[in-house]
Amino acid sequence: MGASNATAVLPKRAAAAFVAPAFVLIAVFLIFPALWTLFLGLTDYALTGAQALHPQVVGAANYATALSDPRLLNSLWVTFVYVFGSAIVGQAVLGFILAWTLRAWRGPVRSAVEILVILAWIIPGSVVAFLWIAFLDTKEGTLNGLLGNAAIPWLFSWPLLSIIVVNIWRGTAFSMLLFGGALTTVPPSQLEAARLAGASGWQQIRDIVLPSIRGHILTNLLLISLWTFNDFAPFLITAGGPNFATDTLPVYIFRNAFRNLQFGYGAAISTIMLLINLVIGLAYLRVLRARD
């Protein structure tokens, strides 16, 4: 995997030329605005009022405001639950289970399940939001209809659970496909040797498969945690309510930046999010690499 001797396969000049165009694009349209946003977090920039014309650098004032805002702390908590419940427990576990149980299957059953799971990911976000609003509707929703015409107000009584379920629905495809690929890297003979020794399916997973695909698990968790952390879809379903029950950080930022037009403050929260994601990423790296 990878290069053993870099210059033999790809000389540095060629490598630089290959990376350059992507680098230019990223520098202009990614790094620059991102840094600018980080800088904005240190100002009191807003779209209205005096600050729009003369934004001042206020240093850590935004952060102080942020950390004393109970809504922010609520938002942090909601976001953590959202990420943990839907990404780690939901998507990754369900994705793995699907990849494992389907790995030996070919044919219509496997294709059907895979297509359904992937369709859930492909359908555009705004449509998905509406599908679930319809599905979970108290009076006319299909779910309540299937439950014998119950009138359970899913989105009102269990909003966080609802958006977690929606996110699992949406995101499992990625984990399923990624783990499906990872499972093909486990040599079948190792699993067969274990089967001959009498190992059950669960024992094979625990003792052989999981240690073998540790790197893939890390990659997967990193990406889906990051994406779920930054997911704006909850807004489309519950708009952060009821009563801030589903006020994840992206929704919180949206409210402050878009509604209240406090862009400086919103940028500061984005920076906080970035730092949290960085910490989470490092934590994963520590946990999953340490055991070597």
């Binding site: 040599p187 003979s189 190792q190 067969e192 040797a193 274990a194 089967r195 001959l196 020794a197 009498g198 190992a199 059950s200 024992q203 003792d207 052989i208 240690p211 073998s212």
Partner: protein, 378 residues
Amino acid sequence: MADVEIRGLTKVFPGGVRALDALDLHINDGEFFALLGPSGCGKTTLLRTIAGLEGATSGQILIGGRDVTGLPPGARDVGMVFQDYALYPHMTVADNITYPLKIRKVAKDERRRTAESVGGSLQIQALFDRRPGQLSGGQQQRVALARVIAYRPRVFLFDEPLSNLDARLRLEARTFLKQLQTELGITTIYVTHDQSEALAMADRMAVMEKGQIRQLDTPTACFRQSANLFVAGFIGSTPMNLLPARIVDGELDVAGCRLPIPEDVRAHVSRDEHLILGVRPEYMSLSRTEVPGALNGTVRILENLGVDTLVTVDVGDLRVQATAPDESVPTPGDHVWLTADPRHVLLYREDDGERVGAPRAAAGTSPGTPDVVNTPAR
């Protein structure tokens, strides 16, 4: 410790490939039994079906008298050494060896003791704390062996375990394995495509082609009395001479030369019949002076085999090979006479490739269970 019996075993893969065709086989308790054949002959499929890693389409498998056909692999009490050893890269050697015991919920001390005794007998104790990635091929192979020995199954299955070793190591490992099996006395089924390996190690062997057994016999019998053209051509480090022959005036006519018909088949051949004469280069003797009842031709190529030299002679349109000891090697261009040792001349019918004359009963079968040689359905 157990014998293995296969009854009418058939395996058809999706897509119609008939990997095993109604096989019947009996392997005695404690026997070293080889499955030999070219790629695609079904030997590995047979091994994996016995292990339970493949399901049989029809037929039965009995181990120690117990029908295991429907049992999952873990319940059949068999151990298998894979071609790539299948060692777990993230476990130490010691943990690899004791993993099957751990699954069977053997207590930790006992696991350790077993590992030490097995590791000691295979001389790998020093490696216990290493990971498989740090071991050489030969060491990995011993660890794989230790793993199956440690949990004492009733049957050992080997899937070409030596093919990943280099040539010299392979020969050493061969001796080692044979000795080990003799000491342990566990029924062993050994798959290989290397005929010299099978001949060297097996008590009995089955030569397979396209899902069927073409000969089931001791190695000596397979070598000396190959039952058909396929076996004759497959076995033997130097290829057997297979020469078209015709019965003319009570003699064999090969490319114009007249040879005597071996006594034991005289009654089974008829005049003018077309046959294939098979005789191994090792059983041909070379003479520079004319000899009656011999093939004659011109020497073309010499190949040094170490002790002997393989001499290729053009006899008419045919190429005939003989081995000659160091002292009497001819020169290319010499005119020579080749005499086939009549005790080792085999005749095969041209149409079905089967040997002329009654097939010898295979040695070493358990009493009361006749061996059935599968002949292809015609």
